[in-house]
């Protein structure tokens, strides 16, 4: 189970990233954030976000047009 969850469904670029950043700010290193999004661009965006911020993208998947991400704060 993730420590924090973020519902970014229905939001479009760049809101899922901005909301995720905001959520991560309040979290401790090592904690995980689970995100649900519907923006198809978010799959690549969260990968890039983690590449650049150093946070770890633990998992990324899609089911019935819902994108699931889990990010571990470093």
């Amino acid at each position: 189970m993730a420590d924090t969850t973020l519902d970014a469904k229905g939001l479009n670029c760049p809101l899922p990233i901005l909301r995720a950043k905001k959520a991560l700010k309040t979290m401790e290193a090592g904690q995980t954030l689970a995100i649900e999004a519907t923006d198809p661009g978010s799959a690549k965006d969260f990968e890039s976000f983690c590449n650049q911020t150093g946070n770890e993208l633990v998992s990324s998947s899609e089911e019935n047009n819902i994108y699931h991400f889990e990010i571990r704060k470093t």
Binding site: N12, P14, L15, K21, F49, Q52, T53
Partner: protein
């Protein structure tokens, strides 16, 4: 952070659609831990107004998708701009696109530095009191001070 990346943007456009690129890029870069500065000049100053009235015009914009084909002369009719603006705002809200107000507030919240071009403020007879608080007023030399330190500079 000594090694913090920096982004410098010049924003020159004052329509509803073109208010988006500088703010989307600025807020995203801030989320990626960039230090961001936007230098607003010419029509870009419209985005900084306390009483924002950003519009979109179908006129002279053949790339704008229309619900029904519309001759250019019809697009020039009074009220068309307002109608196009209302429709675009509705469309954006329905697609979960942030409003300009929302993006601007998020930019300020994430410490994006706003600089307004004093020359164009004077040119358009704007007063500092017409524009939002927290804005620095400066000229081109100030932009270069920011840009020379920037990893990325964009002109929009």
């Amino acid at each position: 952070m000594a090694d913090q990346k920096k982004l410098a943007i010049i924003a020159t456009k004052g329509t509803l659609d073109f208010a988006y690129p500088p703010l989307i890029l600025a807020t995203t870069a801030a989320a990626l831990d960039y230090e961001v500065t936007i230098f607003w000049t010419f029509y870009g100053l419209q985005v900084l107004k306390k009483e924002r009235n950003l519009k979109i015009s179908p006129l002279g914009n053949p790339g704008m998708p229309m619900p029904v084909p519309m001759p250019v002369l019809v697009q020039a009719m009074p009220g068309m701009e307002s109608m196009a603006t209302v429709m675009m705002k509705q469309k954006m809200a329905s697609k979960g696109v942030a409003s300009i107000e929302e993006l601007y507030d998020m930019a300020v919240e994430s410490d994006v530095q706003m600089i307004a071009c004093q020359m164009t403020v004077d040119l358009f007879d704007f007063k500092h009191s017409d524009l939002l608080d927290g804005i620095e007023y400066a000229g081109a030399a100030r932009f270069f001070e920011v840009a020379q330190e920037a990893d990325i500079s964009l002109f929009i």
